[in-house]
Symmetry: C2
């Protein structure tokens, strides 16, 4: 835990003397928050812990009259503005605490407090996770097993890892055509002119993802995702998508196929791809139903339908952004090609 | 707990639409904090929970280099300034967590952050306590017994109680001579011209105290305190004090008598009385080693040596303020007289 705290403070957010540091937790991240608090103080910076217990959040959404859902927390806004660093510790004691809440109230609140999120994104910020029974349960592990899993993915020499990941970014930045070949999969797309972004644990801990935006109309072929995609707490399994001229022309799933098709029909952008990302964190060796980990799983890639990231130069707009992940068994012939070259030969240190 | 939250929000701090509400907890007050959060939100005000876990505080004091102890938390200051209401929930999971900390570091920090405390005192504020195993242990009760004790003293009709307490204040405000007679006790003092203050659960929940300042040089006689006085975590028992011309001329105790005498010798003011208070909360029927409750115990009075409260018009100055409590068995002849009249006849509704 001390190492987890030190990575957050020294590597991810570079806390230095005089920094005002905001630490947010949900239900159970206090052991880690206390370590961060101590490390921050030792460096001459000033920590403060704000808690958002899931029952407080649930109570707010269930019982606040409609006209008060948008009340702006001016005091929190002032706190955030006066902070230099934000460290967010996911630490829920029940991942389903908001199950009965109307998602419309959540989006309405998110919109009303957007000014706060915007300010945080301009600071040094990092999101991490403290292992709880709730996450372990969701991942179908015991707490001890889950802790081992989390720390294996978090306690990494990120300076070294970052160098390797930047090599993958360089390759992607100069690539025109991507081709992905694998089980029930043969997909082509262009990423020409796009800018890949390296998630090397500065804003997410664990990090381990390099992502970019495909040129939407360039996507052709079919792809099969062996890992479940999750939306509104529901799992959609064995998703297969077929693209023609960049648009999804066929979409099937063995479970919740209706939900899949409904979301694809949200708007113009939701029928096209917004993101192509490659997972590089080898500590993440299995699917745990948490996107902070899943999309960074080693030997996987993911595609998202809907909104593209502006920092990649992406131009696909949509109200949604939904990730689908496929594992890649490079040793058994599944492969990603960048302009015809194998990813395992271009950046062997990440894929062996 | 809902009632506890409602008293805090509606009675103690009068939360209304648009209020920015700061809720602070220590280790375990989240059940109550979540209820307060919900009640605040329902009224169109905006809650935020800040946590000061005891291990974070301990870590800060034990490991922060000397030059960083005074770093000012500007972000917390901005938060406090932008708040209209402060609700503090004492909720320690270990009342001895700071035992190894040098008290000098604590005073140094308190001084460095005084601007924050000063701002809070200008808002609507209330301090309360959420029952934990740690407080129950300190009080020598089981948690269930302690919860019953706490709620008996908190869940009171404070509007009604306040009317009774104000009657006691009126009596005290027009009184010249106070005489206290009881076991090993016959003490006289003047409170002429002083202004009694009613603690009717606006700033402390539970409330239940009416206090004023004696005229220091008027105190004559002797007094015996059957309840232990606590200083620096040490208990001083069976304290007896003898006053002549307002000064303590004799001080004995059956345990820690040296500590008692040492503190009395702190300065000029510590040899004189600074406060005379009367406990009126009948739900508090026993000593629990927590000053939020002890000094409000029904059928007790307390005297403090050292600093007087300015709002009473008190003129005794000192670096210390230390309370000593005596129970009063009014039915067996112990009595407080105000200008010769029995307190049990002047305000019978509080002392029967």
């Amino acid at each position: 835990m001390t190492s987890h705290a030190k990575i957050l403070v020294d590597y991810s957010t570079s806390v230095r003397e005089g920094d005002m540091v905001l630490i947010t937790v949900e239900d159970q991240g206090f052991d880690l928050a206390c370590e961060v608090y101590k490390e921050v103080s030792k460096r001459g910076a000033s920590p403060l812990i704000v808690a958002f217990p899931s029952e407080a959040t649930r109570g707010f959404y269930m019982e606040t009259p409609e006209e008060y859902i948008t009340v702006f927390p001016k005091h929190y806004y002032e706190l955030v503005k006066a902070s230099d660093v934000s460290i967010r510790i996911l630490s829920s004691s029940n991942t389903k605490a908001l199950s009965s809440v109307d998602p419309k109230r959540i989006s309405k609140r998110a919109l009303a407090t957007k000014a706060i999120t915007d300010v945080i994104l301009k600071k040094r910020w990092c999101v991490t996770l403290h292992p709880t029974q709730a996450y372990a349960q969701e991942a179908e592990m015991s707490l001890k097993e889950y802790q081992d899993f989390v720390y294996r993915s978090v306690l990494v020499d990120w300076e070294k890892e970052s160098i390797k990941m930047k090599r993958l970014k360089e390759v992607m930045d100069r690539t025109d055509e991507v081709r992905i070949v694998g089980e029930k999969t043969d997909l082509r797309m262009s990423i020409k002119g796009m800018k890949a972004v390296v998630d090397d644990a500065k804003n997410n801990l664990p990090g381990g993802e390099v992502f970019t935006a495909p040129i939407p109309e360039s996507v052709e072929g079919e792809v099969y995702f062996d890992l479940p995609a999750v939306k509104y707490g529901k799992e959609v399994t064995d998703v297969r998508l077929r693209f023609k001229g960049g648009e999804i022309v066929e979409a099937t799933a063995s479970k919740n196929q209706d939900l899949l098709r409904k979301i694809i029909e949200t708007d113009e952008g939701s029928r096209r791809l917004g993101e192509f990302g490659i997972g590089t964190n080898k500590g993440i060796d299995r699917f745990t139903k948490h996107i902070l980990f899943d999309e960074k799983m080693g030997n996987t890639f993911h595609l998202a339908i809907g909104r593209a990231y502006e920092e990649c130069g992406g131009k696909n707009y949509s109200a949604i952004h939904w990730d689908f992940i496929k594992t890649m068994n490079y040793e058994r012939g599944e492969m990603i090609f960048f302009d015809g070259e194998r990813i395992t030969e271009l950046v062997p240190e990440l894929f062996k």
